[in-house]
Structures are given as C-alpha cells and as structure tokens.
Amino acid sequence: MKSSQFKDLTSALAPLMRDNVDTDQIIPARFLTATDKKGFGKRLFMDLRYEEDGKTPKPDFVLNQKKYKGAKILLAHENFGCGSSREHAPWAIIGAGFNAIIAISFADIFRNNSAKNGLLLVELPKKIIDMMHADVERNPKEKASINLEKQTCAWKGQAHIFAINPFVKKCLVEGLDDIGYTLSFANDIRAFEHRQ
C-alpha cells in the first residue's frame, strides 16, 4: 500500500504571518467527530476565515483574498501546528489544496502527521521567511519552486537549501508505506517480544 507522494511544485504562496498557529485554529475541535479523512478542507482555519455564522467570509483573512487563490504552498512563521495531536490538521490543509508549508519551525506531532500524508514541511531561517513574507505582500504572484530531491526552495532566483529527515524524504519521494516498512521487520518484532 503506497502512501501519498510529494510532487515537486511551483506555486504562489498564501501567507499566514503569525507565530504559534495551533491546531485548534487550523481545525476547531467541534469538527473532529467525523469518522473519515475527507471534508476537512472546507473547515480549514474555520474561525479565522468566517464570521460567527460560519458562512460570511472575513475579508482580511488570507484564504478569502482573491490574490492568493490557487496557492498550493502556505507560507507560515514560527512553531506552526502546535497543540493537539489531531491529524485532522494536515487533512484539512491538504483538503484545502495545499501540498507544502514553508515556515521557520513546526511543532513535533504536526511534523510527524504531515509526513504521513504527503504534506511537505520546508523549514528555512527566519531571515528568509521574513523576506518571503515581505516579498509576497509586495507581489502576491511571486512563485516558489520546491525540489524535494535536491532539497531546495527557489525564491526570486535564489535556491535556498532546506534540511529534511532522510527517511521522511524517502517516504515522500517514493510514497513508501511505513506500516509496510515496519512489517518487513516482523522477525525483529517477534524476537523482541520473545525477549520480554
């Protein structure tokens, strides 16, 4: 069983210039009673995106602005995805059409959950992220190009190298299924259980 692969992409950015975007903001808890993985995209950033009636868009919010429509990359800031372990957060982000997030840093569990769903997290230094935010504000059409194999994020003619865990990279590039991977070592698991 293959898992989701990441395909290299070139896209405009949807900027979310705030630190510590927690999973309650990404997908509020009241939507977590669903029993499948679909349908979370329309709930992404629900309370930031809509007024209390849940229908009227807040014009200031990035996802409601025409100029950022169609962006497949979210440009965030520091400690994105902190809080709960809900995998509904990456499901919502992917469901809303994003394939990658570029930020200064990500929370631990969110990072694991994203990798399992083919959502690429690109970490770059604050200096570069702040510059990108400023650039996007000036020109929303500016595009970033992410090449996972080379671990580069090209922005305004300059390729910024990002770090990624080699196994996560392998999974994202090849669509490697990690349950299948672990089960390929079933003998080791049995041996461990015997030693207990």
Partner: protein
C-alpha cells in the same frame, strides 16, 4: 557509559536500530479513544490486518461524551454519538478491552491509565492525544501520536521514531504554601516558551519535584507538550511505588519485590549528560495565571501582564479583552471549569472542595466540576465532596474531557472569561470567542467564590 532515564527507556525498547533509518521502537501500552481512531481502524481494515496486541491496547471514550444525560439517546450531537458507537464496534470486532459509559472505569484516558495500574515505570506508552505525556510521571516514556501512527501501532505494536534531545528541568527548594504543581509547570512553560521544548524530552528533577504526590507530578508531565516537548518524565521513587502497590496485582511477594526493584532502577545515572538544563528555585514560584492565547502567556499573580510589545501580544490582549499592563488579580470571570486530564483527580477535587467548603460561588458564575473518571467521581462522593460543590452552586458532572476541548457541548460563550484548570487557552479552545484563564485547581476554586481571579496563598 552513564545514561539518562530517557536513553535507558529508549534503549530498552529498540526493536531495530540502523544508522540513517528511523528506529523501530516497541510500544508497551496503547491507549485509544473515540476521536483519533476511526480512520485508523478503517486503514487497518483496508489492509486486512489484525490488531497485533489486543492485550496491550486499552480503549475508553472521553473526548466527545456528554457530561450530563448521557444515557439518553440520541445525543444532541449525532456525529459524536456515531463516533463513540464506532469505537465500541471496532473494539468488539478486534477484541480490545473497552471501558465504555457503563463501565465503572470509564474516564479521561490519561486519568484511567494510572488508576488501573497500567501506567508503570519503564514502559513506552502512546495514545492519539498530545497529553499522553502525563504518564511520564511514572518514569514511562509516553507521548502523543497522530491517527496514522495509531494505525501503525495497532498493526505493528511499534513506531518509527527518532531520538529526541534531553533537557533536565530542575526545580530546587520547596514550594510556598498555596502554590501547586500547576504553578510549577506554568512557570516552566513561561520561561521556555511554547516552542522551547521542541525536539526535547524533559526530565523533571530536583527536591520540589520529589516532594510532589503522583497526582501533582502527572499535572506537570501532562503539560510538557505545551512547551513543545515530545515527552516529560520523572524518575520513579517511593512515592511512585506507594501509588502503584495499591493498583498493580502481583502473583506473590517475590514477584512484587522483583518488580519494585526493577521499577526503581529506572533513573538517570549520576553524572549522565543532558543536552540542556534549566533550573528554577521553587520559592520564587507564585500562583500563575494565563492572560493570553497560549499557555506560555502567563504571569505571576503579583505581577503585571505585558503592556504592548509584539504583534502576537497585541492580538492576544485584544482577543482576551484585557488591558496591557493590568494585573490578573481582580479580573472578573464568568465560568469556572474544574476538570481535564491536567487537573481532575481526587487530590485536585479535595483542594478545590477545601476552599469552596461552606461558601457559595459568586453570583453570575457558572462552575462545572467534571471528575476525571468514575473512580474519581465515586471516591469524591464517598468523601462527600460532591455535596460541597453542589451546596456551593457548582454543577457536578459525569467524567470526560468536557469543557477543556468543548467537543461535547460543554462550552464557554463568546466573550466570557473562564477560570480553568485545563491545559490550553488557545483561541476558541473552550468555545468560539471564549476567553480561557489557565490556573491551578486552588486558584480556580478561589476564582469561583470571588467571581474574580484571587490568590490561592490566602486560602492555604
């Protein structure tokens, strides 16, 4: 080589470790609940795989269960009911022990694990919930996982993991009367910041930690994740043994002796190196209250909150409807929530009841007391604590996560302030527009009777 407790726990659970690949780590206990499992069971069924170790998997329902009238069907939230039913079906199908709403053991997953004696030193424990770090209080390596990882553990009883760095969080000295473990952890998060622990496992050490009960230790480990840490652990000692002896069944005295000796061996070697250490003197810790929209935005009760500053601070103050530079003492509150996996155990209820006893909650205040489990609830009723709460005008509810996450309809209305013993004050966490003030059980009880934030030291 001298090793930290984390390194010992890690090494003892390695199934396979090869350079350049994630380690396959064995999981001794998998706790599951209704919210983060449906998709995992669907995935397992699609793969036509069984649950590898049903004997190491324990289920309960806690996140979305109503805290009142829960036996009356249908629930107001039909989807929540369906999700809970799905958990019951899956547990039946795969042969997993489930503590459902009819069980005397039902409760918040992080309250019942220790209560049932399942949480033990030396174990690896996971759950699809970030507050799994709670179980670290027993010297277990415990952390939250996502739904894909839940599926992974169901299928393989293992996880693919990379080692974290280690941070010694040392609290020296002695807490002043009226200051509690919740104040310690809020202070730690305040000092480190909510991202300060990313990439680390904490080990809480020092005389102030040693002096704490198991329940107070759980409160600290519970909120490790709020500083961004993967896990938080405390080495077992006699306090741990005293707690477990009553809850774990031993075949005979010999087995008991051997098990206890093994439990006590889980500690950090003298002179072992941590990647980082922070030290706090307990007598500098005062009752803490959050003023902002994450658990690091807190202040000591005699201090002023920030006056302006970053954009984040301004946004937080605006959401919270607070004035920059004000004190939290005297801040009016509308709701009180005594509960959550952080603070819903019997000792928490005793502290709250001792403050509330013989008094009424302030007029206009709504106070929910939600015990962490039926065991806690029954014990409290045996001790007559429920009468104290009810006489004071509080609501005495059924066990679950309730108003901490607000998935079961227990919500704080928009714009209202809630003095809460829970763990997160994120925007909208307790309801859209709700304004959460995190604090200790004692501080929340004081707030209930004053109708405003007070100082728990005046009630110690």
């Amino acid at each position: 080589m001298r090793k930290t407790l984390y390194e010992k726990l890690w090494d003892a659970h390695v199934v396979r470790e090869v350079k350049g690949e994630p380690t396959i780590l064995y999981i001794d206990l998998h706790l599951i609940h209704e919210v983060t499992t449906p998709q995992a069971f669907t995935g397992l069924a699609n793969r036509k795989l069984p649950v590898r170790r049903t004997d190491l998997t324990i289920a309960t329902m806690d996140h979305s269960v109503p805290s009142a009238n829960r036996k009356k069907l249908p629930w107001p939230d039909v989807m929540a009911q369906k999700q809970v039913e799905m958990l019951a079906e899956n547990c039946k199908k795969y042969g997993i022990t489930l503590y459902d709403l009819d069980s005397k053991h039902q409760g918040i997953v992080h309250v019942i694990g220790p209560e049932l004696g399942l949480t033990q030193p030396g174990k690896t424990i996971v759950c699809g919930d970030s507050h799994t770090s709670t179980h670290g209080a027993f010297g277990a390596l415990a952390f939250g996982i996502g739904t894909s990882e839940v599926e992974h553990v169901l299928a393989t009883q293992c996880l693919l993991q990379n080692k974290t760095k280690t941070m010694a969080v040392t609290i020296n000295g002695e807490l002043k009367p009226g200051v509690y473990s919740k104040d310690i952890i809020l202070r730690i998060i305040h000092e480190l910041g909510i991202a300060g622990g990313i990439g680390y496992t904490f080990e809480y050490r020092g005389s102030a930690i040693r002096a704490l009960s198991m329940e107070a230790r759980m409160t600290i480990c519970n909120m490790s994740i709020e500083a961004g840490a993967r896990a938080g652990i405390i080495a077992p000692d006699q306090t741990t043994i005293d707690y477990l002896e009553k809850r774990v069944k031993f075949k005979n005295d010999n087995e008991k002796k051997k098990t206890i000796a093994k439990w006590l061996s889980w500690n950090t070697d003298e002179g072992a190196k941590f990647d980082k250490e922070i030290i706090i003197d307990a007598d500098t810790i005062e009752p803490m209250v959050t003023w902002g929209t994450n658990p690091g935005m807190s202040v000591g009760i005699t201090k002023n909150i920030p006056d302006g500053g970053s954009e984040d601070i301004k946004k937080a103050l605006e959401y919270m409807g607070l004035k920059g530079g004000q004190m939290m003492r005297g801040q009016k509150i509308d709701y009180v929530f005594l509960g959550s996996c952080t603070n819903s155990r019997i000792e928490d209820l005793r502290i709250e009841a001792s403050i509330i006893k013989g008094k009424k909650i302030a007029s206009g205040v709504t106070a929910f007391v939600v015990p962490g489990s039926y065991e806690v609830k029954h014990k409290a009723e045996e001790e007559g604590l429920h009468k104290i709460f009810l006489d004071a005008g509080c609501e005495w509810r059924e066990p679950g996560c309730s108003m901490c996450i607000g998935m079961n309809g227990d919500l704080v209305p928009s714009g209202k302030y809630c003095a809460s013993t829970s763990n997160r004050n994120f925007i909208g966490r307790q309801g859209r527009g709700a304004r959460t003030l995190l604090m200790s059980p004692a501080m929340a009880a004081v707030a209930a009777i004053l109708g405003a934030v007070g100082d728990s030291r005046n009630y110690a």
